[in-house]
Symmetry: D2
Subunit: 366 residues, 4 copies
């Protein structure tokens, strides 16, 4: 019945419903002495904020982050950091029709099956709005990773079947188009499809790719808390994600060992790999290469075209979902993927501190 807490040492607990008073996160276990201010968090929230393009929900939320605890004189104190985001633009009236009808592709039915009833307003806890709290937590994790020189970068790799061309890859372009694509041509193709989808009262899915750079080797815990296993959980826990793959991913089904293995070589006294089929993880631990993974994001289930469904009381009916929805959820999910990746890596970096007796001696030498 719990399930709103993620992480062992860098531990985040989120709360809040789409149309309640607000939402937030408590980050427990962030090391003391990290420079942190509300602007650090706001920068991330602004990337997820609704209403910024014609292809995102028109709900108007400033998503203003309030740090309620855990920061003193500009630095984290080691105690829990509580971040509060008030809801401002709830139009609960829009959702009164879904109180009694289960939207296809949504969690309305499963929430009722589990709990017996639900806060139906705007999807309640199952709303994508829940991810704002994750992003706030991720912003703090990113600040921590920066201290170690680790960076995380995600982008739309494919939307509605339109994939980026890596020859044209330009990460600056990501922040210029409404699809978070690092390739202007691909974004243009998506735009055409998006316009068509909107006018057909339909929606599009896509793939987000994420790269974590400058990871030290050896991060991740055998056997069950492998870096890739924890990343997979983190990413699949994001609402609309239906798949996760790392490195060559599902392509391995067609590869031979000789093609998929990465050869090691020495480079100025450092161990390097010539290729990165592994996606930066061997045996569940970082291998010094970039961590490269992808997430499959389903098309927004809220569509305005008529779909057959049932009522809570067990009658056949049909519904055209009203309200303010994202016809493509992929672009706004990009920063959520970064956030969850950051929290996962921060947690495993902390777990790894005690991997060797010599490290422990180093910290406690008196």
């Amino acid at each position: 019945m719990a399930g709103s807490t993620f992480g062992t040492l860098f531990k985040i607990t989120t709360w809040g419903e789409s149309h309640g008073a607000g939402l937030g996160v408590v980050i427990d276990g962030c090391p003391a002495g990290l420079p942190l201010c509300e602007e650090d968090i706001q920068r991330f929230l602004d990337r997820r904020k609704p209403g910024q393009s014609a292809y995102a929900t028109q709900r108007k939320e400033s998503d203003t982050a309030h740090i309620m605890s855990g920061v003193f004189e500009g630095r984290t104190t080691g105690t829990p950091i509580s971040v509060l985001i008030n809801n401002e633009d709830q139009h609960s009236g829009d959702y009164s029709d879904i109180a009694l009808v289960y939207r296809p592709g949504h969690a309305d039915y499963t929430y009722d099956a589990k709990y017996g009833f639900r806060d139906y307003r705007g999807g309640g806890r199952s709303s994508a709005r829940e991810t704002a709290a994750r992003v706030a937590a991720g912003a703090v994790a990113v600040k921590l990773l920066e201290q170690l020189g680790i960076t995380i970068c995600a982008y739309s790799q494919c939307i509605g079947g339109n994939g980026i061309d890596y020859e044209r890859f330009d990460i600056k372009e990501r922040d210029r188009n409404p699809f978070a694509m690092p390739d202007a041509e691909a974004a243009a193709a998506v735009e055409a499809d998006a316009i068509a989808a909107k006018s057909n009262l339909d929606s599009l899915g896509g793939i987000i790719e994420c790269v974590i750079s400058n990871m030290p080797a050896g991060i991740g815990e055998p056997v069950f808390d492998k870096l890739d296993a924890n990343l997979a959980k983190a990413i699949l826990s994001i609402g609309a994600v239906k798949g996760f793959e790392i490195g060559d991913g599902f392509m391995v089904a067609k590869l031979k060992g000789s093609e998929n293995n990465d050869e090691f070589y020495m480079d100025n006294g450092k161990i390097k790999k010539r290729t990165n089929h592994s996606g930066g993880v061997l045996g569940g631990m970082s291998d010094g290469g970039d961590i490269v993974f992808r997430a499959a994001v389903k098309p927004t289930p809220s569509i305005a075209s008529l779909q057959k469904t049932v009522t809570r009381d067990g009658d056949d009916t049909s519904i055209a979902v009203k309200g303010r929805h994202d016809p493509i959820i992929v672009p706004r999910a990009v920063v959520v993927v970064e956030a969850m990746a950051a929290c996962t890596v921060a947690d495993l970096l902390l777990q790894n501190l005690g991997a060797r007796v010599e490290n422990i001696r180093k910290i406690y030498e008196r």
Copy 2:
């Protein structure tokens, strides 16, 4: 530094190295009163046992399960069930060369990066032999699920690019061919490729598909402990797995909302779905449909052809991996996938017991 424990209420802790004294698992939190004997576990271990085909390692292990605790007069007592499997056929000599050389695609380097040194014999803790303990735990979870009518069935869906044809799907065929494929024709195609790969000193990867049937709706914990998120972690934690997808999976990138949504309808007073694009999960909770997911398994990294690599001491070198290896690891991983799925579902079924006050009252009424 921990990481050998999986689950919150149905909690398994594995231990053991490839060439140590043995390996095992402690299952804590299995409900009391479940009929269980060693044969229940042995049946599962036998499906994973080495040396059963020309395409698997020739190491000879009986993999005999000893229940050391937690069972009395044929039933579980509610206390931890410790299962012990002794190692019998360690040829540690075969591995002396890898003490100093990092095998490409293996965890030799990352273990050293993390811990400073490692038990290199047979890959130590990173050996696929570790999965025997998971299978023993999974056998117990399967017994528990049986009590609720829930069944789990996995099979090779594709090996070396040869996928099954669902028109020919025959689950009984799975146990007849050495590739665990439910399609004799596909298995024959794989065999040809496998023979070629072996003679080329190479290996093949593939995809395992798994179906969980008769799940009650509402299982899985929002937000972070979603059923699919926990399954993803469970499956990615298996050694060679590089991807996980559920329902339409990565295909959603090309689908529209109208294509990916599953319509609900009433069937004799029960809520059903006309299609199962979701793979049986909505909002992270089971939706009453079959849970259908796939895992991408990389080609065995241990190949006998010469690969460039480095030594532990930082010199360039090359290696042809000796020892007794599976040219295709997919078939033996099928039961491991079932095992991890069973443990995941058992854990979430227990977590869900207290989802409603009315359930709690039902148990404690006096």
Copy 3:
């Protein structure tokens, strides 16, 4: 570095500093369908509220509880319940002197030793104000326990050496005197001592006793999560508590087995015990008797008389602690003890739901 989360299934996470923006708790895992409103929580907070007697801090806080999530139409939804309490009467100026000086008996030094610096205002996270969040969580747990007929009642058993006389025990009296003593004569004796202590710029310690009634038998998890072990942790985690004992407690050192054992007998078909030396726990599980435990609470370390100490920078100095402090912390801690006991029991009641296969079948029968 974490440590602000308590419980496995009924899981509470608190945050907040004495002089920050506020404090709060996220309760994750509360079953759905529990009637809950802000007044339910306020009633408990009011028992802990400062400024209600001459023997408590004169800080003025309304301690108003705001439920931010997890409740819909008067019932819990199963999603996290976030309770927010804003700080209103911070006089941070009072504490500027302790920024540099370590108060004896306080956590100033240990926080610096751990984190390198601290939010010194009012003791920051180590302030007793932190317990308001626990009380809010406890109020929810008590509501859940009420559904099963379980009640929890704590009171001051002894303050400054003045113990209650069980012959005069009257629980209604507890709420009439400022010492939470269920015995008016004992309270009068305490008052005399309290006046003396105040005028001597000193403080008093005491013992709180707590009784949990109507527990079903069998609650508590062997081996490590015993009911009494988890209670001990819960109670010792309260700021000033220095001891915990259950049943005969430390008196067992002088007792024989024949004196300490409780004989069982049948009473109208039910198993009962003639005595309750065990304090309601056998082998770490409830035995059907009342759970009876005691907590030792140290005298408030903040005293206005001059004490020798050191500065943060390593110089000998002395301090007379200013600010608004409770000369006796015991009475206000009574409701905190109830709250922590309630959270502990609620968590173990949920953990116990799956103890038997037959219970699981009962919930999932279809």
Copy 4:
């Protein structure tokens, strides 16, 4: 339903019943590179071993420790350490009478109340024999603490009302008398009482005191995972323990703040305390002083004199407990207290590694 796992990073999982095949522990999260051999563990087990005095059970068990994994070439590898202890001298016949009758002071009834049935042989999982696995784990924790210069020492402080005189305190004496008392005179007084108790078919309780020396300051996690809170849980989780107190403990009820506070002073540039009323913990974190705590251990409930009780089937009856029991359990529990204290401290030392950003940078600097 789980409950056999203790610790977050230094995580131990025990299993085994009194009369099953054996018992053991899996220690997950022990840092790599720690020198460890079976003799290190055996030394601790030998202190707990039965049959060593006339006042302990006459069961003959060699309690031989087998390290099954996690150690390679004399050092821990960072992977789980599995320790196996086979049972050798089960006389299950002795216990056939308790299959149907609930022994007063024992867990027979509560196990049945929880699980519906139990392994009654020798008390099954509730037998004090379970603590052998804790001691094995504690031996490993002690080895880790030694690396940091931290030592742990427990002894009987009082048995049957006969307390030690600190003027005569001699820790070497502890290992010379059968009562683990560091005072020969007190031990002699206990012996007289013990002889009397035995001949009266009765048993004695006592108090164990434990001192942890040379702790760095700042260990322990606010708010819930305080050092003393976690110690309290660890100690109360030991079978017969009914109370825990730290520093002045229950005596605080009679003390004033001016008496209970410890003054700080500078000693050669180091912060020291003049007294240690706190028992080495302030605000839940170590304050640099010795950690001093006490545990109350009840008299062995297994007594041969006749006691009234009930049968499993609900009839009044009486029982004189047969079998081989310790008339005083205190002396054999001394090493168990040390073991649990060591595991607790090891876990919190590891959790503290990431308390500051500067520590993390120190480990990961490249």
